[in-house]
Amino acid sequence: MKKKIVATLLTAVMAASALAGCAQKVDPNADTAASKEATEETTQDATKEEAKTDETAAPEEKTIESCEIEFWHGMSNKQEEVLTQLTDEFNSSNEYGITVTLVNQGSYGDLSQKLQAAAAADGLPDMAQAYNNWLNPYIDKVVDLSDFVATDFDNYDDIIEAYRNECSEFGFVHALPFNKSTYVMFYNKTVLDELGLEAPKTWEDLTTIGEAYVEKYGNAAWGVDDLAGFVEASLRQNGEGYVDATGALFNTDGGLETMTYIMDLYNNGLARLVGEDKYFSNVLSAQAMLGYIGSSTGASYITADGWELGVCPVPSNKESAAYCAGTNLVMFTQDSNKQLAAWEYMKWLTSAEATVTWAVGTGYLPVRTSAYESAEYQEFMASDVTATAAYEQSDAFFTSLASYDASNDVRTAVAAKMEELILDETEPQDALDALVEEINAQF
């Protein structure tokens, strides 16, 4: 009976693949061009022409029929409250009768999986919140906003430069920045004062302060929430490149210097992995460490009772580089009228007024430099150390390149590899070689 089962299953596989094969349309140009990049170019030009024709057709005075825009997002509790408030304000105030419906798709993981499923089923929403490395497989379904930005956006240069770069990574403006955060150094100011030391500004400070703390308290001083981001930031702080479509760029002396700095922090017991404690915010709240580099949005999860929380920019070296994170607003709808309506909403969300309300309400960062300088935000910064620290390093913002295919893999591979190297207490040179090899293996 057993042999019969295996036989039947094998025949099922062969029959099915033949059946499924012809059922799907074999994409002719995918065959001939053979390379993935090629397909991407051809589809992009197509969407660009399409957008242009809309532009010229619609006269200067825009007429948008009232319509409903579906916006998929992954915001929850406090952030969802503020987003709903801004959206209601838009729905009531816009003169075209546009109503934006917010659809909460759970965590970022769930949102990315759902976008992928919707893309496969040709059922993408009108608009969504997305990281760049989610978009690689269906970038051809993203609406090109270059013309919208060129003709119908007040002062695009007011947007923080790092965000502008991130939003045009795919060769055209594919998004507008939305919930941006940066990695800052949270530390126990009381303990630092007791040690009679200042907040760390350079790599050396980290080492000296760390040694003083370890000597006095015994457990490791520093920690990092996102290892991959920390490695990229440290390389940039040492004037080195990180990774691009060709592979790892830091197999250089500068790269070795950076790896030595990082590995020494861990091998000498100055820094530790989060391991079983899951979030450093818990460890810092329990005063079991001196400080850690984490996302500015994590500030609300630190409870500083009995000590004062200090926040400062990420310590730098030759240059300063602050790792940014956060998603952008992306448009999918192919209906020209809805595109205009969605654009109105995107403009509203990135307007100076809305971005300040958003930043003050959620702890994310304003997307415009003018917003930083606005009176309301300056007053907010006076009372919020995290915002101040983020602002101080805003000129050094950078985001990790995500437009090459293996970007998602590199991000998780580097994090896992670094953990392994740290747990094995590897020597810097071996660590560098292993990391470079691991990154290149992802291509």
Partner: protein, 290 residues
């Protein structure tokens, strides 16, 4: 049995329709995806047929690690869980007044939210104040960093998984134990059978079909382990991906690297491994029953 008739198919029809549409069709698509090169699920395009996906997956060392972890996991968790569940189910079935109470308690893990289980077990495993280490140090061993050190990742996962999978097995065995007529236990008593022999020669053979069921279902779900890793390590695959499992590997290939063909190939390889393990059981049973 009366002559062969088509009536059986009529009874199967409702289930068959649903299973064909929502399980068989996707399964066939997965099989076909596995031999399509550069398959892009979003645009439903591919560049030809071949076995490159299988070669890539079979040569990928993290797949080897995943397969190694998963096989050790399945080979250890399933038997342990069955033996422990059998003992506890038999004990519960033996009690009179407190049977309902114990049956309810041992069923609780099945209804507790996965998040709560994950948090509590990461507390049990904590190297400094965890319950497990306090027991270990009570017996004079030095504490183990269960969740931090890669080499303890798999043992920690296995202990957690045995605990989690017992609730279902106990329930199935308790249901099975009720099918054994009470007189048989009286007859055994009259034949002055020692309790361990009652367990081995009457209780166990009495619910042999349930044990086989739990074994096969255990193997299938053990090889598809993913949620346990997710809830114990909070989304990560253990320290430095040391507790990566095949389904975790498939999930990453599918939803992170967008390499659908390779994910499908890994799934097909897993399929044949599970098939082999479940068929081994039939050979063992034939051997035992001779």
């Amino acid at each position: 049995m009366e002559k062969k008739s088509m009536k059986g198919w009529l009874y199967l029809l409702p289930a068959l329709i649903i299973i064909t549409v929502f399980t068989l069709y996707p399964l066939i698509r997965a099989f076909s995806m596995s031999i399509m090169l550069d398959y892009d699920m979003i645009h439903n395009t591919f560049t030809g047929y071949g076995l490159e996906n299988y070669q890539k997956v079979l040569s990928d060392k993290s797949f080897h690690k995943a397969l190694g972890n998963t096989t050790i996991y399945a080979v250890v968790v399933v038997p342990c869980s069955i033996i422990l569940s059998l003992l506890i189910a038999a004990m519960i079935n033996g009690t009179k007044k407190t049977k309902g109470l114990f049956q309810t308690i041992y069923f609780l893990p099945y209804v507790t939210s996965v998040i709560a289980i994950g948090i509590v077990w990461s507390w049990i495993y904590n190297s400094r104040y965890g319950l497990l280490n306090s027991i270990i140090s009570f017996f004079g061993f030095d504490p183990i960093e269960w969740l931090n050190k890669p080499k303890y990742a798999l043992p920690a996962l296995i202990i957690f998984a045995v605990w989690k999978s017992m609730a279902f097995n106990i329930m199935v065995f308790l249901a099975g134990l009720q099918t054994i007529p009470k007189e048989i236990y009286d007859a055994a008593k009259v034949d002055s059978t020692p309790r361990w022999r009652v367990f081995l020669r009457i209780t166990v053979p009495g619910i042999a079909p349930m044990i086989v069921y739990s074994y096969i279902m255990g193997i299938i779900s053990a090889f598809k382990v993913y949620n346990e890793v997710y809830s114990l390590y909070g989304g990560k695959a253990g320290p430095a991906d040391s507790a990566i499992t095949v389904v975790y590997y498939i999930w990453k290939k599918f939803y992170q690297s967008f390499k659908y063909g390779e994910a499908a190939a890994a799934a097909v390889i897993l399929f044949f491994i599970i098939l082999a393990f479940t068929m081994v059981q039939k050979l063992v049973r034939k051997f035992l029953s001779r």
